[in-house]
């Protein structure tokens, strides 16, 4: 039995060691908090946030071909795509597209199933509302894409 453990015990070394750690971290440089609305968090490129429907940037037409694959892939069945066949071009055209974000779990299966580049999960994560109705996004809202919140007093 060496003397060191006894001395450690008598002089509370174990307790003082802990105190040293907490004291050290008081340095302002160690602060880890992000002051959220002032400091914007760095969002990863692949972040799965609020869904968006992409449009062709040149013509402004939707890229959606109304194939309904996203609606089929969605585990929560929260996408509803309505389409009708254009008599001229003989192609299906999307007439309405609704997505209930309140039930969405951002798994990304719809995006993976999308055969064009239309449906996408954007990097927008600020989407709080006072009513659940607002979470049901229609085509217009989805095509408008993220609307980053601007904080004012």
């Amino acid at each position: 039995m060496s003397i060191a453990p006894i001395l450690n015990k008598v002089f509370l070394v174990d307790l003082l060691k802990g105190l040293k750690v907490t004291f050290k971290y008081q340095h302002p440089k160690e602060v880890y908090t992000e002051q959220y609305p002032l400091e914007r968090p760095a969002i990863a490129e692949r972040y799965r946030g609020l869904p968006r429907l992409n449009v062709n940037p040149e013509t402004g037409e939707t890229l959606c071909i109304a194939c309904n694959l996203c609606a089929t892939a969605c585990p929560e069945h929260l996408i509803v795509v309505q389409s009708e066949r254009n008599p001229v071009t003989r192609r299906k055209e999307m007439t309405s597209f609704t997505l209930d974000v309140s039930r969405c779990m951002f798994c990304g299966l719809c995006v993976e199933s999308c055969s064009t580049d239309c449906l996408e999960l954007s990097q927008d994560y600020e989407f709080a509302l006072y009513s659940r109705d607002g979470f049901i996004l229609d085509r217009e809202r989805l095509e408008r894409g993220p609307e980053p919140t601007v904080y004012t007093r």
Binding site: D14, K17, G18, R46, L109
Partner: protein, 383 residues
């Protein structure tokens, strides 16, 4: 106190007379309680502060995951498993994917397996860090919680960069992984390994030798190896009782046989040993990550998987070593696109069963310590 006897609550619970000829005190711990880690409700029968018996009431977070699985295709059910053990979502996903792959008789390509190993081990560290923080908080040390969460944040950042989500990652797909590693992934992981090593030393400085911590955890909630096996307890709790058993070694999956690591074990099976084992497991996980990230092979990340998955009729049970213990998936296929039955063998649920045995005869404060040391996640207990 007279009013609660009137309601018949004591009779209902089966309260008995203690030796001092007084009524047992029935304490309802939870479902809203700071340290039952969610919505666990423990009915404690007390004699003063001494615990005479416990009864767990669970199911407050029951979402019927197994029923949902029967109504979703194999692919569609994948995100749901993340919601069971939400602090180790990656492990859940790995187990499910391996189970379905077993049914489909395919195997993920090596690169995918390596990515899976890296992420799963990162997630194991994250899970253990969260456990350490909350467990220390239960025992009264506030600060480790913040240090562990700060370091866990680095893991979550890697997850976010890799698959776009931080907690419920949905990062693996049946047959491999969906995402290729991002640019700088190896660098990030290597940095993390270098960064977190000294930090673990700091947790240890705060706790391991601290006399209060040692007194609070030594010989608290002792569970011997035999009892562990009888109660089906797995994971670090089992290993702390001296049983050297880890599914990653016993029945390797996802190329774990290629990595060199040790199985830390304890001796007494008390709360302190479980703490030591988990800390050692973080170190071993770092070792595995280090090996994996530096030898990650090139190649495809997805096996050839049919677009519409219809596993042949049959059933399979596949289990992995999740941070909490053995996480198993028993999947019955009827040949259709949807599983006929998915049974999840949740480690937390089974481990929680040992609570009664562990706390009988100890004090109220020990109940809190033992609930913490079991490392339960109520999302997984209730599913």
């Amino acid at each position: 106190m007279t009013d609660s006897t009137k309601s018949g609550f004591y009779e209902e619970i089966g309260s008995q007379q203690t030796f001092l000829d007084a009524n047992e005190l029935v304490l309802n711990m939870g479902p809203q309680h700071p340290s039952t880690h969610g919505v666990l409700r423990v009915i404690l029968r007390l004699d003063g502060e001494k615990v005479l018996g416990t009864e767990c009431v669970i199911g407050y977070l029951h979402r019927g995951v197994e029923k949902i699985a029967e109504n979703r295709t194999y692919t569609m059910f994948n995100p749901y498993v993340d919601r069971m053990d939400y602090v180790a979502a990656v492990s859940n996903g790995l187990g499910y994917c391996l189970a379905v792959e077993k049914l489909l008789n395919i195997e993920a390509p090596p690169r995918a397996a390596y990515i899976r190993v890296i992420l799963t081990e990162l997630n194991r560290i994250a899970s253990h860090q969260l456990w350490l923080g909350t467990h220390a908080l239960d025992i009264g040390a506030m600060t480790p919680l913040f240090y562990t969460f700060r370091d866990r944040e680095e893991i979550l950042k890697i997850f976010e960069k890799y698959c776009g989500a931080r907690l419920t990652t949905h990062s693996f797909r049946i047959g491999g992984t969906q995402y290729e590693t991002y640019e700088g992934f190896e660098q990030d992981v290597n940095n993390f390994v270098k960064f977190v090593g000294p930090k673990i030393g700091e947790y240890e400085e705060l706790l391991t030798t601290n006399r209060i911590w040692v007194e609070r955890t030594r010989n608290v909630g002792v569970l011997g190896g035999k009892d562990c096996i009888d109660l089906g307890v797995t994971g670090p709790v089992l290993r702390a009782s001296g049983v050297k058993w880890d599914l990653r070694k016993a029945q390797p999956y996802s190329m774990y046989e290629k990595f060199d690591f040790e199985i830390p074990t304890g001796e007494n099976g008390d709360t302190f040993d479980r703490y030591i084992v988990r800390i050692a497991e973080i170190r071993q996980a770092l070792r595995i990550i280090d090996q994996a990230v530096n030898s990650i092979p090139a190649g495809p990340i997805m096996a050839k998987v049919p677009k519409v998955m219809k596993p042949p009729v049959g059933e399979a049970y596949v289990s992995i070593e999740a941070p909490k213990g053995e996480l198993g998936y028993f999947i019955v296929s009827d040949g259709s696109t949807q599983p006929y039955r998915v049974r999840v063998r949740p480690p937390s649920f089974v481990n929680l069963q040992a609570l009664d045995k562990m706390v009988r005869g100890s004090l109220v404060a020990d109940v809190v310590a033992v609930i913490g040391t079991l490392d339960i996640v109520l999302g997984e207990v209730d599913r």
